[in-house]
Symmetry: C2
Subunit: 248 residues, 2 copies
C-alpha cells in the first residue's frame, strides 16, 4: 500500500510549518527527536480516501498541508460531514482501534503520521503531547458544538453565510490579515461537500450562493473564488453577532 509515490520526503520537525500549532507544539527539542524516530510522511491526492470508517487505524497524525474531511454515512447513503481538517489538525484517536469516520482528502494532502502504538506509548511518557492533545480536542469539541447550532437552528441562507464566514476568517488568520476591508478567498469545497457539511442538498447550496451574490453580500469570480465586500454584513446574514464574538 505504501510506495514511493505516497511516501513523501522526510522533513525536519524544527522547520515544519505546523511546528507551533500541531499536537507536537509544546514538545522540547529532545522530545521532538523522539518523535522524529517514529514519524513518516504520506501524500494523498485530491479525492483520495485516507481512512474508511470501521477500518483498523494503523496510525495517527497531523495534517501538514491541504484539507481533509471527516464524514459519516448512513446505510441509505445520506452523508454528514462532522469535521474539516486543516493544517495542524490531528487525525485519529489514541486508544481506539478502528476509525469512526471516513477521512477524505479534498485537496492534495500531506500528513505527518505516527504509528499508533509507539505514539500511544510516547503519549504516556510525554505530558507535553497529552496536554496539547487535550487542548486541541477541547477546541474541536467547541467547534462541533458551534456547528450543532448551525445544523439544528439556522436557515439555508444562514448556513451558507456561516460556512463562508468560517472560511473567510480562517483564511484571514492564516494569511495574517485583519478582518477589516474586503476579504477574498477560494472555496476549498465543491457544492456537494458544502451540502454535506451544512445538512443541505447541493441544489439548495447553489441557490443560496446565487441569492447571496444577487444581494451583493458576496461577489464571485468563477465558481470558487469569493470576495466579501463587507464582512460584518456576511456575519449578520449568518445570524451571528456582527462583532464576530462567537468564534473568538
Amino acid at each position: 500500500m505504501l510506495n514511493e509515490r505516497n511516501l513523501a520526503a522526510h522533513q525536519d520537525c524544527e522547520s515544519c510549518p505546523i511546528r507551533h500549532r500541531a499536537v507536537c507544539a509544546r514538545c522540547e527539542t529532545n522530545e521532538l527527536e523522539r518523535l522524529e524516530e517514529i514519524k513518516y510522511y504520506r501524500k494523498f491526492e485530491a479525492g483520495q480516501t485516507v481512512i474508511w470508517s470501521g477500518d483498523r487505524m494503523e496510525f495517527v497524525g497531523s495534517v501538514v498541508s491541504g484539507i481533509a474531511t471527516l464524514t459519516q454515512t448512513m446505510e441509505d447513503g445520506r452523508r454528514q460531514m462532522v469535521g474539516l481538517l486543516l493544517p495542524s489538525d490531528f487525525v485519529g484517536r489514541p486508544g481506539r482501534g478502528t476509525a469512526a469516520y471516513d477521512v477524505v482528502a479534498t485537496t492534495d494532502l500531506v500528513m505527518c503520521c505516527f504509528r499508533k502504538t509507539p505514539f500511544e506509548d510516547m503519549m504516556q511518557k510525554t505530558p507535553h503531547i497529552a496536554q496539547r492533545l487535550l487542548e486541541m480536542t477541547l477546541d474541536e469539541l467547541d467547534a462541533a458544538r458551534e456547528w450543532m447550532l448551525v445544523l439544528g437552528r439556522k436557515t439555508a441562507r444562514e448556513k451558507i453565510a456561516s460556512l463562508l464566514s468560517i472560511i473567510a476568517r480562517r483564511d484571514a488568520t492564516l494569511n495574517l490579515r485583519g478582518t477589516e476591508g474586503p476579504l477574498a478567498f477560494d472555496l476549498p469545497l465543491t457544492r456537494e461537500a458544502m451540502a454535506d457539511y451544512l445538512g443541505l442538498t447541493l441544489e439548495t447550496v447553489s441557490r443560496q450562493i446565487s441569492a447571496l451574490k444577487r444581494d451583493g453580500v458576496i461577489v464571485l469570480q468563477g465558481k470558487r473564488h469569493v470576495t466579501v465586500p463587507d464582512m460584518s454584513l456576511l456575519l449578520e446574514e449568518a445570524g451571528d453577532d456582527a462583532d464576530g464574538g462567537v468564534f473568538a
Copy 2:
C-alpha cells in the same frame, strides 16, 4: 450566592457514586485526598441555571446526580442544546475564563465542584486527571459528532427515535439491564427541551411521539413514562443499524 441551601454536605470520595467514571476515576488514594481539599458540593433545583453563557467560570466540576443541559442561544431566541450532562460528566473547561454555553439543571442536581485555579494547578501536576479528562473529552467529541448526523440528516421521526434510543440505552446500562426484552424509562426532558435538543419545534416533537405511539413503536403511560416493546424496531426507526453498533 452560596448558602446552606445549595451547599450540600461533604462526602467521601471513596464512597462517591461516580468515583469510577468521573474525571477523578484514575486517581490514587493520595491524589483523591488532595482533591478532597479543594472540592465542595452544590445543589441546584430543577429549572435553575448553573452558569450563564459569558459568565466568569468560578469553578469546574462533575455532575454527581441529576441531569443538566448545555444550550446555545441566538440573539432572536432560537436555541440549540449542545450537550446533555449526566452523572459523572464534567462541566467547564480548564484554561478558559468564561462559560461558552448556558448550563441548566433539568432535574434536581448535585455537583461536585472544584475552584478553577486550584484544579488547573492540580491538573498540571496530576497526569491521572489530565489523562481521564482527555478520554472523556474525546468521548464527548464523538457524541457531538454523532449528534451532528442526527441534526443534519435525519427526519423528525428519526430524530425522536434516536433520542429515545439514547435515553433507553443509557437507562439500561445505568441499571445494569441488558437491551433484550422490553425497556421502560422516564423521559427526563420536557417536549420543549427535546425540541431544543433535536432542532425541532415542540409541536413537531409532540406529533412524532404520537405517531410512534400510534404505530406501536413505543407505549406511553402518562406523558413521560415510555415503554419500548422492541428495541430493534426503535433502532430501525432511528435509521441506525439494528445491531446498535453506532454507539458501541
